[in-house]
Symmetry: C3
Subunit: 429 residues, 3 copies
């Protein structure tokens, strides 16, 4: 028998045994199977793969080391907005803005460590995400750094993935990202997270920094191939920053302020605004979430309640809510992350310019916020919004939003009810 | 006949047929040609290439997916300047500065989409480029985002590629980058682009944002291997930002301002400056370009004319021009992009420290600007400049510039004619 | 003889000759050795490697071109701090901060050129490093750009690698990074560098920019496998920025100011501070370094002396010093760079979550600074500090520091001696 033929047979015999471990077949494997290289050579060369690099381009450009233990992805998010305001009373400045312009670096190291660093270059510039997650203590994950506090399914959804250009009115109660420590656990259809957080790193402070605790659970009692029901519950307790250092002789005081833009970001005005509420001891924020999906149709809603306990005077109650429906005309279902308790991005089944026009989604939302209680007259607002999203491909999205301010009652903008037309071009790499 | 020899022959036969598609020969191809792997295996393995990565290092570090459909290039531009001023009247501050310090991310996705994101960390920090170009509607390209408005061959040339350290005096009329939409088309020796643009994203605004339309055509009637003639024509119509919101009771007004540093950036002074011209209705900017090259010698010149139409009072006319000649002592021709209508970077034929000293270029320029008309006395300025560029390799360049302010007539700096010595070290990766 | 067997033998014969150049054995080599491909094919395919990419993950994610002549590494440094102050007199603000949040790009091009660009996004944002080093003029290296001036072994050690969370009190005399040119040379156990530097690029300036010369030599008379002795000497001469332009009618003057935080960065207060010293002609800064290591134990100490020569009045003398000992409980020696004259990062022998708990280091430091001389009463301060470092893996480090201000004598904070508790989580990729 010819020697190389024998080697080939021997290799094949070996391969039959070790076949399950050779899942991803490639040149090395092909050559081993043909006996061109021996199994020892195969193993040796495979081990050297550690320094080889693969790139996947499904979502951005991810580079992974040969052993899969380390990866890096340089990403960017660009949102260019245009808004036209049909003014009612106040003059609102039409125009363009880069709503978000971000660079990020994320990936894995030593298999169990995930990192993400992201910087914002538009609007309020600086660090958005800067954290490390350790997943080596299964079923727990531990996250340290600045990242999103676990509160609200719309707040937690990635900025590039929310249905409307701006989140609904109650979102403005939430401080999304803060430095802290979070412990979490999850299965495919539920998640639970608790964390301790300081003040966002960008916040200046004169006195001792504020801090708080946040907890959230999400649960999907029904989760089928084409439908699910989501329920979520979250709570925040927070002690605001102590501002006494700025006035050493005066009384100690801490402040909180809640205010909301009318679901549009180019104008400067907030139609409802509590102003600085002084003498705050602490405050709580509670959140309820309900969402459901059937095929291409989704329903999503949240209710937020804030209770501000003051050193003197009554406890103040503010609240907000929204409910929205969305329908993908081209049939794609909005992916739901049962292990996170929020929605992911719609992936168009066809791509514009290749095999179709991409995906189209229409959505409608009602929302309200009430910032008036007792001696604080921040105002009440209700909005209606319609939106169309065009997903040209997994990286590009164009959105058109129409927002009608239905009612503003109380506060400095009492009765000022403009109409808003907004357009966005988004690149998320 | 030996089986593997047969396979080899069969493969070669197949390869003869499919040879044109196997242009880039490599290991896979070699093995297929030798019959070590079959054509089926070859095709299968080639298809798996999608996740493989190649890097080219000719201009920075570009990483491309195996199928060529996606790429990413992380780049940086660093310009460290030193300037010494032989003062005339005003005291000018000698010193160093990082003129530009940028990070960029650019590349391709889904074959037809090009993106570029760039951030500036020196001087006026923030977003420079943030755009996506779609080239799938041949012969048209569509660009959306913030990018350079199509005006002026020197303004459009990359900041790293212009002959002198600072562009000539008339350049200061141009707002280079703004958010907008542009449609273009081109062939090897001509280009045409039209766009609609808002205000640069970094500009604060109180009232409705300004906007404008820009168009440019470039044409090279002669374009040989070692010589060409370039002609260009561009026009901008612009409605400035409406500032009325800042003064609700006062009259509505919009302003424009033109001013120019003396082709040096470290000093704070602008020797000519119209100040804020109030009550502007709209303005137009016209540009004429002429350039020619014969071997290592190039001539480049532009003329700009601004017409500011005011709500009351006469229309104001300002203008500027420059003409420059450059010669590469080491013989390299400055590459001309006929499909873009501007110059690219000189590539040194030899590299410093390897096979030579790099490339050397000398250049001379005359330029002028006139910002005085009617009741506006911004001043007139004429400059002469000499420059030497040393291209050590494709990524590194050292420049020395000498600028003599020949004349300043009118305005706050009337008769102040300093002499400028400038030095730059540039890394463009 | 079978033709392919002959080729194989021929190849092996060739390989025996050229073996030393084929150090890194791989698939190509294996195939060549087996005669599957000819040596010509091998050489040709090897040459094509230029566009191939390898990634190493020992320190971050480094991508290298096939010929090794070019590389790029995208890195990040994140330090999230928490501090609690046991106040004495002044109120000090407890809280969290991102101490450093950086992105960097570094690598090699054309073999002999090294570049590094780094941006800071926390605290004082902007450019930190932006330089190119040319190592093609052996034994000399030439560095141009903004980078660390060669002064002080603790100042020169990377921000991620210093033993305590903040460098000792005398460090505050040093302007670390500035734009300039440096020439250096080194062997395995000594280094010498001299440079000319302007003012840091972030510094605003009204008059002519300050400049200075810096020189440093380091020498390790003993350098064994497990112990060494380090000695260093450095000097800076500096002419401060000329501020006269801000007050054209008043006298010309230049100023310097020295001040120090108490080895903690979250609080705003500097307990010692000379204030702006006016009428400075020039100043000198001298530095002495001594360090030693025996196995897991290290000793490190520095002394700095400043002499400020004024236009009128006496020369002012300020000084500072620190001495610290560190011991790695898990036995790892802190690597010493004899060719640089400073310490590198401890590499844990075991990794947390894989084969152990990482590395643990304990350290103690005494430090002092004296900013009072003649008519300037900046104050004197002495501190004691204890620290624990936990190196979970080569990329992650947790530090806990305790700093006791032993004495503050003179100045605005006379007798104010707080106690500081600090915590840091560091990711350095």
């Amino acid at each position: 028998m010819h020697r190389s033929s024998f080697a080939a047979l021997a290799s094949i015999a070996l391969l039959c045994v070790s076949a399950p471990t050779l899942a991803k077949d490639d040149l090395l494997e092909t050559l081993a199977q043909k006996g061109v290289i021996t199994m020892e050579e195969y193993e040796k060369l495979k081990a050297q793969r550690k320094s080889e690099v693969t790139a996947t381009t499904d979502e951005g450009f991810k580079i992974t080391s040969g052993d899969g233990a380390a990866s890096v992805q340089v990403g960017t998010l660009q949102q260019l907005d245009f808004a036209h305001y049909n003014e009612d009373t106040a003059e609102l400045a039409d125009g363009t803005e880069l709503r978000r312009s971000r660079l990020s670096l994320q990936g894995t190291f030593f298999t169990d460590w995930q990192y993400r660093v992201e910087y914002e270059f538009a609007g309020t510039t600086g660090v958005t995400d800067a954290y490390v997650t350790y997943s080596g203590l299964k079923p727990l994950t531990v996250t340290v750094g600045q990242f999103k506090q676990p509160f609200g399914m719309e707040a937690l959804a990635a900025d590039k993935n929310v249905t409307f250009m701006e989140r609904g009115l109650p979102f403005y109660f939430i401080t999304t990202r803060a430095p802290g420590v979070m412990v979490g656990t999850s299965r495919s259809n539920w998640s639970a997270n608790v964390g301790l957080f300081g003040e966002p790193v960008a916040n200046a402070q004169a006195g001792d920094e504020g801090y708080g605790a946040v907890g959230r659970v999400s649960f999907a009692p029904l989760m089928d191939a084409d439908r699910f029901i989501h329920m979520g519950l979250a709570t925040t307790w927070r002690k605001p920053t102590d501002e006494n250092s700025t006035n050493l002789l005066g009384p100690k005081f801490t402040t909180v302020r809640f205010r909301a833009r009318p679901e549009s970001n180019i104008l400067a005005q907030r139609l409802v605004d509590t102003g600085e509420i002084v003498g705050v001891d602490q405050y709580r924020l509670e959140g309820l979430e309900f969402a459901a999906q059937h095929g291409a149709a989704t329903l999503q809603s949240e209710y937020h309640l804030v209770q501000v306990k003051r050193d003197a005077g009554s406890t103040l109650n503010f609240s907000g809510w929204y409910a929205q429906v969305a329908y993908t005309l081209t049939g794609e279902a909005r992916p739901y992350r049962g292990d996170k308790g929020f929605f992911d991005a719609i992936k168009p089944a066809r791509r514009f310019g290749k095999d179709g026009w991409g995906a189209f989604e229409v959505a409608a939302r009602l929302s309200g916020i009430d910032l008036s209680d007792d001696d604080v007259t921040g105002g009440r607002e209700r909005n209606a919004a319609l939106g169309v999203n065009w997903y040209l491909n997994p990286l590009l999205r164009v959105s058109a939003n129409f927002v009608k301010v239905l009612e503003v009652k109380g506060g400095a903008f009492d009765g000022d009810e403009p109409t808003i037309y907004e357009l966005r071009m988004q690149l998320a790499l």
